[in-house]
Symmetry: C2
Subunit: 198 residues, 2 copies
DNA sequence: AATTACAGATGACAAATGTCACTGGTGTTA
DNA sequence: TAACACCAGTGACATTTGTCATCTGTAATT
């Protein structure tokens, strides 16, 4: 059984890989980011892809989406620090087999990998609960405007980028602020990002 | 030789501890956050404290400051994801013996621990370089105002909290924005936080 | 003693931001 | 087919935010 572990922080990657090799009889290869993982997946055969979400070049979610359509039989598991309901929805939509938080001991990871190999889908309960009550209330336009605002762009710049009047851009942001119970555009962007909606 | 490892993310903590036990002959105890670490330090004798920075309850920096004055002979090492120059300055000021990034393989950690035990101070070169040219330009008042602004407080609320006029609060923020080459208070807060100045 | 430098503090003013009422379009429901 | 609930889009208006000139006190430099 061959696992590919994609994680950008070297200390965490080497520690996880080292311990996985000891506590199981998987062969574990390491990828330093999403792009590296993609390349290794194309060059070799793996049974399981174990990936972080926030990585440089290609994010874990993008990697997952690509991998699932390129190699449908590959089992995919996300391990992440971020329990953002938006992430889990996108991952499930892409057909992920497991979604675990780093906030669990390594034994849980090993157990979960075994369950996943029997065909079960293993998703952290905390995450499932969160995903339930947290519905993204933003429209597509509001989301786009908010994303740009979160990057520090001015109303004028946002309006230009989205081909709308300044008033419209301000209105989208106002709606987003209201829907997210924020008190300004930046707080709204922070909340939405934290939920994984941007 | 006894090590106390303080790290809040269970998977990373157990992985690091497990591998440290294997790759060295240290005895490794685990603490789930700063408060837990403080308690364990008071109850047992340790030779080395290995701690993350961003943890709930008590941050690694606070823990470090407390530990260094309570137990001067304790060797202290910070391992963190965040290469923020502000952090390293405070840690060095508190007399830290080592400051390493998680962005390095586990072997480096083990080697560094050995060097530290011989009395050397081991600090990641990248970090030292960064810390040189990045001077915190903010005054105490500006920092306070910016911190509150970063939490989403309005000018009026900030003025009230700091016992100054609204105009003054706005002025501090304006100064901070200018000094940090930001274009609004939130961007300024983000930059300052990212540097470890808040 | 005069000069300089700089943090603290303030209010006037200009610019950016947020809110609101309104129009038009589309799809759903009674 | 009304009535309704939306989302997209707009401009007028009020509020908030950012900038600037200015004054005060203190500490370092000449």
């Amino acid at each position: 059984m061959k696992i590919l572990l994609a994680e950008d922080q070297a200390m965490i990657r080497t520690a996880l890989a080292g311990l996985l090799r000891l506590e199981s009889n998987y062969t574990v290869d390491e990828a330093v980011d999403g792009a590296d993982a993609k390349q290794k997946l194309q060059e070799n055969h793996y049974d399981i892809l174990l990936t972080d979400i926030e990585m440089p070049h290609i994010s874990g979610l993008e990697l997952l989406q690509w991998a699932k359509q390129a190699q449908p039989h590959l089992l995919t598991v996300i391990i992440t620090t971020f329990n953002r309901s938006g992430y889990i929805k996108r991952a499930v939509a892409a057909g992920v087999n497991g979604f675990l938080l780093k906030d669990a001991p390594i034994e849980v990871l090993v157990q979960s990998l075994q369950k996943i190999q029997t065909g079960q889908q293993v998703i952290s309960n905390e995450l499932l609960l969160q995903a339930l009550d947290d519905q993204d209330p933003l429209t597509e336009k509001e989301r786009k405007a908010l994303r740009l605002a979160g990057e520090g762009m001015s109303t004028a710049a946002i309006a230009k980028a989205l081909f709308i009047a300044e008033g419209t851009a301000r209105n989208y942001l106002s709606e987003a602020i209201s829907k997210l119970h924020a008190s300004n555009r930046t707080e709204a962007a922070r909340i939405a990002h934290q939920k994984g909606w941007l």
